[in-house]
Assembly symmetry: C2
């Protein structure tokens, strides 16, 4: 039992210690790769299930494409290979001999998937193709950070093909709102901005990248999910064409979209406090932890199991922590660190009065609840916690978001890492680069709908064409 | 619409064509790797869910370890590296430069996991470790066969650590019976033998390998799941030790166990017939397919959707195939090929009489069912089909299993690929090799409990020590 580093003054050390202490993940023997431990993986599974349900509800099916991609297949789309070549890992030997052609360990799967789509599309009746896969990808990483930036990470990647440009763009927006933003807000309790990336911040192969951006507790931005409109370059590069309704040959339009295990890092950094993790009930592996505080011969442990059974019957995830060699105080400490939304303390005195002590992880509030009412009350509390964490995170973000029309003020704000700065921008990459050079902040997103900000560019004073949100970012 | 190759006379071609035609999987641009298509992946997801539920119900938690393993870490357990080195793929370049040490793309994860366990175990209180991961693995494959043998495949691998040898062996047997055999029989409707592997057929690093073995429609055996008792070699090789109840340092005992996407191939080859796939309802992505046969202006389509809604309300997976450019006959053909357990035909005539035509995939039987009774009847039929497929497969296996006490008869039986041959064996690798040389059959398993067969070895005539089941195998 050791205290965490101060969350206000040393956020990176706080983060590293929460990830370690709450047994979420650790570094592995391969530089940049991580071991996801049981508690971290359980959060990921709940998040995965929430994403997967929405991916299927919007008409997509899961498939699986190979890990290894011949370099020549990868290279056929030049933007893609140029964007990723500094990061790829190459298999050059296999089965005891040197390969004729190196294989790329997929950093993303556009290449192999569009190469395969060539065989799946003949007629407009074959469109749209609406596929997703859950996979591991590898991007060589020299400055790893658990969950946030690792050489290997877990994600889902959707790859769709459409008859028209409008349909492909509608796909991107649907995923952004009804899959990513919805899961991030209603499941992870992590409020997000929806927007477009500037050309400089786009996925290399994209014509437009849509993004959700969240604010972490250190006021930095986390890119939480992106969907990309890819035009018809992939169809052309991989020879995918179809006979359209007009009897002519056409190339379909592409979209791709991904969200990854970095979202687990987002949950930690959105809700954490000085005691550790605070998990939204929707992604808490243990929504309720019951700690029986039992003297020899007491019936507290049976009562705890009975209550657990009742709560499980209502579909809740409940853990009875009956370890005998660990003291109650150490258990409280551990489950606070691990972020369980509710702790129930059940001792002989509680039992004698027919009640249980309920402690909220979010506010620290304690309550005596009569046992017959406990299940109802716990259901209500979990809903309150879920909503409360979202409201708290939203208020935090809004408090640390400022609009600017004065360049020095914005630069100062960004340099100090004060949060999100919203201002008009002329669209020039030079102005964007200037802000980055001075403050290390980048444009996190432009408004989803392109509209004139009605103000001059915060950087150069020329006419503004976009409203941009700048911030330092992960 | 083309006929399938004859299942009796050309099983390999039949298999390849079912996999292609039912859109289960296809070869990719990387030799030996496969693309798992939506229908195949949906079967895998259902199977995964069944396995995962039982893995968790038996007390295991999911984790995730890295794909890439330094060769030196892999090499620390010599049996492991010797067993796998001809099959491994090596990453030698990454991030734009040649690596100092090559990384092995995991063929299995004992090495990286036990290397990590060193940090997780100090006291006997930390044991047992009961972890599982869902992962892709790569084993270089020169004679690939979709689902059955591919360079990359999907699997789960459990890796557990125990205080005693007995506990580790009990873990192996629990997984064999309550996870693998249970899922294979009650979900995949694939009857399996439970047994031990002969030393020659064991996992390289195992002291004992337990296996489930199924018979395919061509009377060949498929190894369906294995659990391995690994002794304490891994603990010793990776420096994993703990302070025991006696205050002394001990090495924990290891078990590992895996089942893979090859089980999808097992389902195809256990139940398939001349029309294609026959899916057990428990792993059928579409348990019921409703084909509305509608004239212009008819209300058949609405009635079909209404019936689908009612069935979905009962938790069934239902597809309404309302494609307008495909004729009903072509739909029937397609869903038979894809193995949907029940097809419902709903036309104007059916609707007029308030009934629906129900066609069973397993027997081909047709039935008129009154609409108000349809949901009940369909539930009953799906149960019947699930049980019927298992009974049919069991009868098939038993019909093609023979006991032998005469060497030439057994050799002839095995050479002709007639099925499973059961006979006494003296335990010598020479006798085993002799059978293999003459017939290409191998020992699939020995009885789970080691007991004297009370008969001389079928090969050499010396005293038998084991009862072995031989067969040609995938």
């Amino acid at each position: 039992m050791s205290r965490l580093p101060d969350i206000e003054t040393d956020f990176p050390a706080w983060y590293a210690e929460v990830v370690r202490g709450a047994e979420l993940a650790e570094h592995s023997s391969v530089r940049g790769s991580m071991v996801i431990r049981a508690h971290g993986y359980a959060i990921w599974e709940l998040l995965q299930r929430a994403l997967d349900g929405r991916i299927k509800a919007t008409g997509h099916e899961n498939v699986y494409f190979p890990l290894l991609v011949p370099r020549s297949v990868m290279a056929r789309e030049t933007d893609l290979i140029e964007g990723f070549s500094p990061e790829v890992a190459l298999v050059t030997e296999a089965g005891g001999s040197v390969l004729e052609e190196p294989l790329v360990v997929r950093p993303t799967s556009e290449a192999t998937i569009w190469n395969t789509y060539a065989g799946w599309v003949q007629s407009h009746r074959d469109l749209p193709l609406l596929y997703n896969q859950w996979a591991n990808v590898v991007r060589w990483e020299l400055r790893p950070r658990l969950f946030l930036r690792t050489t290997e990470f877990l994600w889902q990647e959707g790859h769709t093909a459409h008859e028209t440009e409008d349909e492909a763009i509608a796909e991107c927006l649907q995923i952004l709102e009804h899959v990513y933003a919805d899961v991030q807000e209603s499941v992870l309790a992590m409020p997000v901005l929806r927007g477009r990336k500037s050309p400089r911040e786009r996925f290399a192969a994209a014509r437009e990248t849509y993004t959700t951006e969240a604010m972490m507790r250190d006021r930095k931005a986390l890119q939480a999910g992106t969907s990309h409109y890819l035009g018809d370059e992939f169809a052309k590069a991989y020879g995918v064409s179809y006979t359209g309704r007009d009897g002519q040959e056409h190339h379909p339009f592409a979209a791709s979209w991904g969200a990854s295990s970095r979202l687990v890092g987002g949950v930690i950094m959105t809700h954490g406090d000085q005691r550790g993790l605070r998990l939204p009930p929707a992604v808490a592996p243990q929504q309720v932890v019951i700690v029986p505080i039992a003297r020899e011969g007491s019936s507290v442990r049976e009562a705890a199991e009975e209550l657990a059974g009742e709560l499980r019957g209502r579909g809740l995830r409940v853990k009875v922590d009956a370890r005998e060699h660990v003291r109650p105080g150490a258990k409280f400490f551990e489950w606070e660190l691990k972020g369980a939304p509710l702790r129930l303390e059940l001792g002989d005195r509680d039992l004698a009065t027919g009640s249980v002590t309920v402690v909220r992880r979010d506010t620290g509030g304690r309550d005596q609840v009569r046992l017959p009412e406990a299940a109802d009350r716990i259901g209500v509390l979990l809903d309150e916690i879920q909503r409360g964490l979202l409201a708290e995170a939203r208020a935090f973000r809004d408090r640390h978001t400022s609009r600017f029309d004065d360049r020095p003020a914005m630069m100062e704000f960004l340099q100090a890492g004060e949060g999100f700065a919203v201002a008009a921008w002329c669209g020039s990459a030079d102005c964007e680069a200037e802000v980055k050079a001075e403050t290390s902040a980048t444009i996190r997103c432009l408004t989803l709908e392109r509209k004139h900000p009605g103000a001059p560019c915060i950087v150069c004073g020329r006419a503004g064409t976009e409203t941009a949100t700048w911030a330092q970012a992960y």
